[in-house]
Symmetry: C2
Subunit: 145 residues, 2 copies
DNA sequence: CTAGGTTCTAGAGTCGGCTCTAGGGCAACC
DNA sequence: GGTTGCCCTAGAGCCGACTCTAGAACCTAG
């Protein structure tokens, strides 16, 4: 990785992070950039690779459901520099738990959906001879009407 | 509590499904009830256990990220009765894929977050003697400034 | 020199999914 | 017979996270 630390335009950062330029400006307003954006002539923003790395982390956090205010909090801690590591860790751990819980919930939902898919598959395979209403508790059995 | 199977009030359904009464009425307007709600004197809604089961399924679908329009679609198919099973299956399969993809994405996010948590743990355990900036690619290394 | 592309700002608009309000009805209990 | 409590409707409001608009400046290529 030959980091030449060169200035990237907002458009290039958009490309690199998958965020839109709109979103990049929006995130900036929301205080979600670890270090202040430098400006070139005409007021144009310049980013560097570190900013891109930071934004990629933010994308991960967002993708895993961290709300913007929490990301801003984390950003603030990072901006405050060393001494805030314990708090950052706590924040990340909280989010980690949250993500685990999310995966858990989704997995449980998936089980049920898979079950229902199975019911329909059986039903379609062996013809609609017997209705699958009595199929015990789990799936909705509103197939009857 | 030997509930005699029939006629639950909206409040009771709210309790049983975890949805608010507001949301129940909202879902009804959105066409997300498999069979039309019966009304008692004074226009009050009456539900039965089947409705509750159906709503529980809807809750699962929502919780796993199915948008309301898709749920409405599924509801419509169910309302149309037999003959629509293939479509229902297709819809469910699509959602199943979607949930799997979601879990996948979250799992990948979790890995990264866990990695970062580990970095902070190490950092805090053995004191801030060495900065963890050089810690290779993955985590943001904005800790330096 | 003009045209096209990128950028800038402040602020408005959108979308999904609720959530709540106002204003009223009915039913039961004290 | 008043108060409490659940219910009704239509419609407004809210929240998070974007997403877009208008109007202007700049830069580069042809």
């Amino acid at each position: 990785m030959p980091e030449v630390a060169q200035d990237l335009s907002i458009g290039q950062v958009a490309e690199r992070t998958g965020l839109s330029v709109h979103t990049l400006r929006f995130y900036e307003r929301e205080g979600i950039l670890a270090n202040p954006v430098r400006r070139g002539p005409g007021g144009r923003r310049f980013y560097n690779e570190d900013d891109v790395e930071w934004l990629r982390l933010c994308v991960i956090l967002r993708a895993s459901g961290m709300p913007l205010p929490a990301i801003r909090q984390y950003t603030d801690l990072v901006r405050q520099g060393s001494g805030t590591e314990k708090e950052r860790l706590a924040l990340l751990r909280r989010h980690q738990e949250h993500v685990i819980a999310q995966i858990d919930k989704l997995t449980r939902c998936l089980d049920l959906i898979t079950f229902k898919v199975g019911v329909y598959e059986d039903h379609l395979e062996q013809g609609p001879a017997d209705q699958m209403c009595g199929a015990s508790s789990l799936p909705e059995n509103a197939e009857h009407d």
